[in-house]
Symmetry: C2
């Protein structure tokens, strides 16, 4: 942890820099995987399963019986919790698709937009050190609400060839049955290009390690859309005088436990808080399972003192954090001033964990400064908006002559002619 006192504005830019992610050194390896899966299909996918995940699958698709059977191994309490989270996420995401009304833009001309689901989408759900069934909720629920026709899941299996039952159970209650036990870049390739078993999709969602991320970037160049570019997860906390140091420390830690490259920043206008939080972090970390990961990430944690909470907000807007926690009873003063952030947590009880799992907001959010130019995943991420227009005879009579003039000024007389012919009639 580094404590930084009142950095000059000229230093802010450096304080906002995230660690460079090695870009090209894995690119060739990934390109190779993409090419092999594209040309050899299932055969290549199975080869990579064996090579990277250590099991040799008979079938890549998970049997529906296995999905149904998963339920029996999940405790009633966990089922209840997932059910409540699901209801909240549904409520928030269902409110996002507002049908727009047609607009009469000028006499005889009516324009509107219609929400239409992206027909085929693929969700990548990481397995590995944590079985992220919460990510499946965050992606599967808006996909269902949007009305996507085909929703597929790729998720890595363990060495025993099994996928975590909580993921299967969650897929089951979402009604998603096309689940493939494929992880890594080969999963992205299979969804992007299609294989004998895995259907090709039009958009791919979901977090992953650097291989998955790079593969998503690369298939994007081949016409597949992706949710957003991704980097390590991050939190920036703005803590006021009245913030409980134990709460602040716990929130820093919960971000840190995602991985050793997690980005964790505390800002405050109250100097005493810095050392108190530092003590708390050390105390709490000792008691946690993922202690080593946390310690690694916390090493790079910055605790920064600013002159005021307003200055903390200014810095945060420049940093553009994925998660922003404003832990101050005065948060109402600053809420309206947030311009760059993925998701904002207000007050001492709004810890990130609430939004990560169950409060209703989406946890798939822009990292690495992308909060400046991207939104998090929402129901809109699963639809296109198609525009329609209806021009009547009166409409073209009124506006046609203007279109003729503009087309002529752009030297596009064919465009003009399409109007002229209609006006003559």
């Amino acid at each position: 942890m580094t404590i930084i006192l009142n950095p000059a504005k000229s230093e802010w830019k450096d304080l906002c820099i995230r660690p460079e992610i090695g870009k090209s050194y894995i690119e060739n390896a990934i390109l190779d995987i993409l090419y092999k899966v594209r040309t050899e299909g299932d055969k290549a996918v199975k080869h990579y399963c064996e090579k990277f995940d250590g099991f040799s699958p008979d079938s890549l698709k998970i049997d529906i019986k296995e999905i149904k059977a998963a339920s029996s191994s999940i405790s009633a309490e966990l089922k209840g919790a997932i059910g409540k989270a699901m209801a909240n996420i549904e409520k928030f995401h269902a409110a996002q698709l507002i049908a727009e009304q047609p607009v009469v833009t000028s006499k005889g001309i009516t324009c509107w937009r219609k929400n239409v689901a992206i027909e085929k989408v693929g969700l990548y759900i990481p397995g590995g050190s944590a079985p992220l069934f919460s990510t499946l909720l965050m992606l599967g629920i808006p996909a269902k609400i949007a009305g996507c026709n085909l929703i597929t899941i790729c998720t890595p299996a363990g060495k025993d060839g099994k996928v975590n039952p909580v993921i299967l159970y969650t897929a089951g209650i979402l009604g998603i049955t096309d689940i493939f036990k494929i992880g890594g870049a080969q999963a992205i390739a299979a969804m992007a290009y299609g294989t004998e078993t895995v259907p090709k999709v039009y958009k791919i969602f979901g977090p992953g390690n650097q291989y998955v991320t790079k593969a998503k970037q690369l298939v994007q160049q081949d016409g597949v859309a992706i949710d957003m570019p991704a980097g390590p997860s991050e939190v920036l906390i703005i803590a006021g005088k009245d913030a409980n140091p134990a709460f602040v420390a716990a929130d820093l830690i919960s971000q840190a436990e995602h991985g050793p490259d997690s980005q964790v920043v505390l800002t405050t206008d109250y100097k005493d808080l810095l050392s108190k939080v530092r003590e708390e972090v050390e105390k709490q970390t000792k008691l946690l399972e993922r202690k080593e990961i946390i310690e690694k990430a916390i090493e790079n944690c910055r605790l920064i003192l600013f002159a005021s909470l307003q200055e903390c907000i200014d810095f945060s807007n420049e940093y553009a954090p994925e998660h922003l926690i404003i832990n101050s009873s005065e948060y109402g003063k600053y809420t309206g001033k947030v311009t760059n952030a993925g998701s904002v947590f207000l007050g001492q009880y709004s810890c990130e964990s609430m939004g990560d799992y169950a409060s209703g907001t989406n946890h798939t959010l822009p990292t690495n400064g992308y909060a400046r130019n991207y939104s998090g995943v929402s129901t809109e991420s699963f639809i296109k908006r198609i525009t329609f227009q209806e021009v009547t005879q009166e409409g073209i009579r009124e506006l046609g002559p203007d279109v003729e003039k503009m087309a002529e000024a752009e030297l596009l007389t064919g465009h003009k002619n399409a109007v002229t012919l209609r006006l003559k009639k």
Copy 2:
């Protein structure tokens, strides 16, 4: 023009293929331009202006006096037409930003999303064979409505170092004054990385040739967002028995005149129309300025007969055209069935030219099959949606225990701990 009668469903896939765009052969040249502009700034930009555009600029930024002076060379009629188009585009795009209401997802938990403009955006406006001031309207108006702080324009100058006055006039009435006479990949590089003169932006919009398109794709990997991937412009027309062949031909032609690589497709369930349209195309083309471009594009035009208008719609949904014209009095039956298209024009008077210029819809649309997974540009393209949540003491008491269970099941005990500490208090 190729006439295709009742293609079997198995042939549809091939009929939907767009010509492959050479991908990698220009990539190295573009990477070189990006690197030079990134490291040498204005010096490199000026070098490329001289090399590619044939003029040596003293200043890259256009003087405010020049913007003001442009007005005097524009006819009152054209000004009137631009004014009417602007009003329609504003009306349609202003209706797109609906403020969402907060949602109480469960007791003590309130979540909402807020629309926040992307602070800095750059618009690329092609010059060259046609001065596309209409594109400036289509990008500048939603940028203004969204409330972007900094809106810059890059547009190539001619050999005389001058930018088309209609573009300057249009920028002037939009209130955009940061205009740089830079074209091609060097313009994209300047906006993506910033130079001494050109400010760095967070998102780049606008069409362009293959160099511009490739540059946009490449800077996207460096953290800059782009509006969408682009390919040659395209139209698919569905014409019914009652469609006027002259109108249909004029619409095919107006698409064809964009460039020799324009994609132009006619589908119908009325065989006689095919030859009538072909005759009309030949007749009308002769009279037009951009005859050679049109003839080149029309060469690859496909006129396809299907068994019914429903089958035309099915094919169109598979093709996913940028522009879809349903020229039939029965369009009402099919409007609801469109699932993949950028913008749809209904009935005989809704020619594409109307939407290209003035009806109110945006003309920056997904091409090359991207209508399956992307929307056209809208006011939303210029904003991010930031989520907020407010969890009260009651909120965490109610939902906290569920979050604890879920975090535990994902083996993220740090996440659990952040809730546990608060519940204990």
